[in-house]
Amino acid sequence: MGRLSVSLCGIELDNPVIPASGTFGYGCEFAELYDINCLGTFSFKGTTREARFGNPTPRIAEAYAGMLNAVGLQNPGVDAVIAEELPRLAQVFHKPVIANVSGFSVEEYVEVCRKLDAQPQVGWLEVNISCPNVHGGGMSFGTDPNAAAEVVRAVKAVTTKPVIVKLSPNVTDIVSVAKACEDSGADAISLINTVMAMRIDLKTRRPVLANVTGGLSGPAVFPLALRMVWQVSKAVKIPVVGLGGVSSAEDVIEMMLAGASAVQVGAANLRNPYACREIIENFPAVMDRYGIENIKDIIGGAHG
């Protein structure tokens, strides 16, 4: 075990750096660029029961220090992921992967989680109850503690692997949602998903995104995400995975000081495809600069 290693729900990670779902596909595009085995792990593209095209385009917009997306969970469906994406991934990635799951009903979450739980490559299930870009699913589960609890209980009943529940920041009381997930058996919490946002085109005087609203990510949301990681990690005993605007080794350390046991990197991968590798490479020097011997020692360190 190196000085970068951390543990997430009993599984050792070589380092705490994890590309976030929706910014890393099913891994293969990045495996062409660098050896993705340098990562702690990664969370693959949000997967649903059926194949989805997602929302109409345009579904990307820019913001100061960030971006908006309204992709709307485009994915080939869980059966194609198991038949095609996971075998392809097995050629290039030799660590347990995080399977990110989305749904429009409790039954859909259950079915997709059950299928992915049975895949040996899958180390964790990340249940996304926080997608702001789909209607009648996703975030509607993550903004109501009771609905969140129902999804978690149902998924836990059919799975054996650790269940990470990915939370939405688009709530007034993130702690109550996190606690409801913990009480229902969640093994970890990841936060934050994107922040609901929009842009308007001055020429057309219409929303830039065909979906009208989208999710804001990138450095612009980092302080907001950090605050929520701080609040949630103070309130729950299960591990917290921090994400939202993380772009550097310093950001990873800050998230861990706030209470994150591991950290996901999202939008930074889209701006710089080598972002995660660079963060990992920079890590030892940055740890030295701040006098950190082993990274796991600083988790929650700012809580005093």
Binding site: T23, E29, E32, G54, I60, E62, V71, N269, R271, P273
Partner: protein
């Protein structure tokens, strides 16, 4: 795909609408005309995708239109500025399908990749014919560059101020073995419908990453959803599903 640092060697307007950016650097990532680059602009989060106009082993040129804040900022970059680029992105035009007399049809900023394509078709022994469409005489670009290749493009302008009055389809009644086109979607659709033969079309899209990760630029095709950035930007005529 290759990431590299490029140096601006020229950045000057071609007319009131379009400008040409010349960059020097390692272009070994580029394998086909019609591929694009993603350029990182200081102060902007997302990279900007641009079709490659032409390139050699150590330089490339882009033609761009200042349509928003990013491309307006691009106009201000002086020679000597160093820029971070991803090069060799996407699937370019397939030269092997050209046949003896391919027809190249560019409209507006879509004229840009036709130059690099024409050069390579000539090198491969094909005899390309070129049709270039613009709104008006003042927006003409790259005509002298095609002349320098020994080609005489047919020019159409919507207002009749130069060449043939009307759209590019007015000039398409020439025999051709295959077509390659880039321009506004309405133009490309009219081209695809008018041409009796097969062809390839290069699409524009609002992109997030440009290399296939974010799924921002998906487009429905007869073979299911495809990423314009990675599975395109060049698609075969037979694959296209046109929006109604």
């Amino acid at each position: 795909m290759k990431q590299g640092i490029f140096t601006v060697t020229g950045n000057s307007p071609l007319n009131a609408r379009y400008a040409r950016l010349a960059l020097s650097g390692d272009t070994s990532g580029i394998s086909a005309p019609g591929q694009f680059v993603e350029l990182s602009l200081p102060g902007f989060f997302l990279r900007r995708p641009f079709s490659v106009c032409d390139w050699d082993s150590s330089s490339l040129t882009l033609v761009y239109e200042s349509v928003g804040k990013g491309t307006r900022a691009l106009r201000e970059l002086p020679a000597g500025t160093r820029l971070d680029l991803l090069t060799g992105l996407g699937k370019g035009f397939d030269l092997s399908r050209a046949g003896a007399e391919p027809l190249l049809i560019g409209g507006g900023s879509g004229v840009s990749p036709m130059l690099g394509l024409a050069r390579r078709l000539l090198e491969s022994g094909a005899r390309p014919r070129i049709i270039l469409g613009f709104n008006t005489r003042d927006e003409l670009i790259l005509l002298e560059d095609f002349h320098a290749l020994g080609l005489s493009p047919t020019v159409t302008t919507a207002d009749g101020s130069f060449g043939i009055r009307g759209f590019v389809t007015e000039a398409m009644s020439v025999p051709h073995s295959f077509f390659y086109t880039c321009g506004p979607e309405a133009m490309m659709r009219a081209v695809a419908e008018k041409s009796p033969v097969s062809g390839q079309l290069s699409f524009d899209a609002r992109m997030g990453c440009g290399f296939g990760a974010c799924m921002g630029c998906a487009r429905m095709t007869v073979n299911g959803p495809k990423r314009v950035c990675r599975d395109g930007p060049v698609f075969d005529k037979e694959e296209i599903v046109w929006a109604d």
